[in-house]
Subunit: 280 residues, 3 copies
């Protein structure tokens, strides 16, 4: 168990609640409300803006940028690129969630273009999406991980994640039964969460948004993007786990509500008691 | 009581949970999150994609397509037509929800165009919307059924539904106090549901999405589109009924959550005990 | 305590439930579902439509128009202007929520353009947004009120609100710890609500939508836009207060659900007992 990582995550969470960083999202219209609410629940402040005439300004006043291609279109793709470049220029961290990469040429080309033109701080996806960015055959079934990719073990997954991290010089987070978070050298594993989270839309998107909130307090040298990514993934996984236990007798509507509840009640004690964080 | 229909619906529901069909939606941004969550709750997998550059690809990998014109615009109308044509080419079932048909020229023309250019499998709407597609005077008040159309009885409604079904060679589902589902020959009536469902936005959209999930397991000869439509309408109505009973002391926010809860807990025993399905 | 204002608000609320006015929204994709559900919860009927080819028609059949610039873009800005002009032509009340005015040139210019080209009935925003419309330095931080503007007292806020009300000949509602609602002459203060409402996305948007529902029963001379604005603000604030008490042990996901619950259960007795409405 990596107590040091957990304590750093707790420190970042306290920073989020003290500083309330603004997190600019260019994201999809399916799960955008949940993304905004989860960012508020952890203590940060969301702003959603996607018009090319304002994205650079909005990124400039923000502490992090989250790009999520869930319902990308020609108009918003250009906004994603412009906002990403502005973030790079100003040293603002960028989280990329390549939703459904592997499922269509548009998603593939956009993911490749974003990774080529924007320096990404954290790339978060499921095994299929990250395999796509690795140049591997990704048997993506829509926006969910494919059955074949679900069977990939932690060792092989670690290889993929580390390769992608080195290729793009970023932190890579593959979320799944065991979450794998790596900067290409250090690798953190998180075993919180529940498989039922895939029965609520947007748990991946919300995870990326939480990573965005953690990245929003990355100013200075105290914390690393690796810990920021682990923080978002851990809070999401543990919140999902706690929410499922609290609502499983009710159903998936209550489960969705319970996830936001759990994030808003998350505290250091709960993380110390229940986080299952390991380092290889 | 039509036990045979109920048993076929239960069989389809088991198929959905076993096969997890991908259901492509081109839909509105108001209720899209609820549509995604209800498709997950019944056991299928939603994907929302509306850019013209990817809709044909996304339809190609899907088992059903749901077109919902709730917040249509020039850009997405073209995507709807392209996706619909691709679905027809590949034999993928298409569900059309002509939200607010009758309320504006844009909705009227788009509904007419979709019905002319795309072979629809199931057309689901309220009495005003379906009357519009029948070429009748539809006194549509926004996206809800008009007061005049609310007073139309089951006999007259059946005539309208059967005429539209024959006109377009599709299954027609008119949801209301008594749901009327017909392929032009056989007609099924469902008396589940509660009038309070109209106090939560998107119960019509969610119904169409559930019909999409049922259509996603229509491969082969075992089930008919008529039963798929009845399945979606029945699960929606009964879930609304159960959710209202469970949450009426709380209010409409909890009612909305309860509908997703009820769909995720729906099972064969509940359907056998509580479905009120008749055939004329 | 202004019992007269509370009784007028109760009268308007009864009118909403009796007449079910249609409220056309051109709004953002983040909180649109909550806006639709809160309009239904108070007893009115929402319609969301933003394509330039139909907004004038949809406004024409509606009883009020709500323009919310939360995720504005080039396409929808033109729709907002066209719908607003049509509403003016037909004497339909217009509510403007200038979300994030002060945060980007696009939001600033759009707010100015809307206020120049459309006669607004009620302008609702936080202190930063309304200060922007007053031509004052607005230290807007994204879509939330800035820290500096949070410290502005009720007296100074009243000055700002009254100046803006006179400048544009409209009712101005600044929501905050004390809500200030004025037509430039009469000023109403409301002290319901809780600071926790800023931890759920869209409480400002939902407030504007409720104002839209109240404006939807403004036909005739019986009620004034000032009371309509106060009605929406009061129902929102009190619902937030009641919902927070009911859900604070659970978290912000349940709080969000509880707000819609409370609006749907709001009645005259609750308003008489718990409204804190004053007039200067």
């Amino acid at each position: 168990m990596s107590r040091e990582v957990i304590h750093q995550i707790i420190g970042m969470m306290e920073d989020i609640r003290a500083k309330k960083p603004l997190v600019h999202h260019i994201t999809n219209y399916v799960t955008v409300n949940d993304c905004a609410n989860i960012v508020l629940a952890i203590g940060a402040s969301p702003i959603m803006a996607d018009d090319i005439d304002e994205v650079e300004t909005i990124t400039s006043i923000s502490s992090a940028l989250v790009i999520n291609i869930g319902t990308l279109n020609r108009r918003t793709i250009e906004s994603m690129v412009a906002a990403g470049k502005k973030a790079n220029e100003l040293g603002i961290p960028v989280v990329l969630d390549p939703v459904g990469a592997g499922a269509s040429a548009l998603r593939n080309e956009t993911t490749e273009r974003l990774l080529a033109e924007v320096k990404v701080t954290v790339l978060r996806g499921n095994m299929s999406e990250i395999r796509f960015t690795a140049g591997l055959e990704a048997d993506t079934k829509g926006v969910e991980v494919s059955e074949a990719d679900q069977k990939i073990g932690t060792d092989e997954g670690t290889q993929v994640a580390q390769n992608v991290a080195r290729k793009f010089g970023c932190v890579v987070a593959i979320t799944g039964p065991t979450d794998i978070i790596t900067d290409g050298k250090r690798t953190i594993y998180i075993e919180n969460g529940t498989k039922h989270m895939s029965n609520v839309t947007g748990t991946g998107c919300m995870c990326s948004s939480l990573v965005g909130a953690f990245c929003g307090v990355l100013d200075g040298e105290r914390y690393s993007p690796l810990i920021a990514a682990a923080g978002g993934v851990l809070v999401m996984g543990l919140s999902g786990e706690l929410a499922y236990e609290a609502t499983k007798h009710l159903g998936y509507g209550s489960f969705r509500t319970g996830i936001i509840d759990a994030v808003s009640k998350m505290d250091g004690d709960t993380l110390i008691q229940k986080a299952r964080v390991y380092e290889s």
